[in-house]
Symmetry: C2
Amino acid sequence: MFIGAQVSLYPMTSDFVAVITDGLEALTSYRSDLRIETDDMSTLMVGAPEALFAAIRDLFAAAARRPEHVTMHVTLSRGCPGEPDDPSCRCEALERAQEQGLAERQALAAEAVTGAPVAGVEIDVQFSLYVMGGGDHMEEIYGCIDFLKKSGTFLRSKNFCTRLRGDAGAVFATLQQAFLRFGPAQGHVTIDLTASANSPSLR
Amino acid sequence: MFIGAQVSLYPMTSDFVAVITDGLEALTSYRSDLRIETDDMSTLMVGAPEALFAAIRDLFAAAARRPEHVTMHVTLSRGCPGEPDDPSCRCEALERAQEQGLAERQALAAEAVTGAPVAGVEIDVQFSLYVMGGGDHMEEIYGCIDFLKKSGTFLRSKNFCTRLRGDAGAVFATLQQAFLRFGPAQGHVTIDLTASANSPSLR
């Protein structure tokens, strides 16, 4: 299994370079657990989902605590058949999910969101979950939407995506659960995610 | 068939509201062909691919012609089983694709990129193409990557995505062909796309 993300931070300020550089410092404590490589368009992070989602959450929460409007785009992927197997990406939740029915996975997902740490910063997210390959992928999508609606972070459905709102801790816990608990455990699942904080449109 | 996109423009300047508002004016001439609705996170565009890709291209090209660093995120979708059929999204290229083999579709895609209009502005893009449902989705993905490598806009492969670089006209023509010519003609296909212009990292 290969699990990772391409992450881009977009601060809507002329001082964006400093905000991005500061934000990347929030990743320091994750560099032992994740492979992290930055180029001119995004930062690649590869590793197990616990560290991966915590790193992305901390990066965005750090930027969102500043006064400026900031957004982030993340492309998450697990199980892509074109990527090599990587032992550092091992994930117990995924391994166990193979023997769990949809209802059990929904309950475990809800529990994880309830127990999420509080980051102390409100954020908006919209995202799409994609389940590739055979099988009834829409059943898994609808099962995930059902979990999202009860997660406490659900804002509304939009065309092509779902809006979440809440504390960064709960919102990223919701995203992590959507990514891990739905779709085939060994299949190819991706998320296309946009986060936003301090938007003047909401003032 | 339902075809559309959620589009967000991110100007890396403290004057971002003016850049976004100016950018949305580039959409004026497309409002008769597309359904266009803006909220605090993105602009929904629904309609046939010709107008849809031209509108997204013109929006980004207008912002990229300014001096500031600007990025854009787009979630494109066609054939999502959760969306209603919409006659305004009818697309002849998709209808014909049902009877065309992979090699023929690759040739038509290459031809369309060669004939693309020149926008006069250089941009960078990275994107992922997702083909949902049964069948050998990786064969279509590899067929698309083969087209991309010969398109003249291919820069390099990255984990989870492909980098393109070139004139905005050729780059968006490449993206439109990837979206329409690969994956089942009546299936659910999406693109997760990030565009960038005037990045200080490239100076």
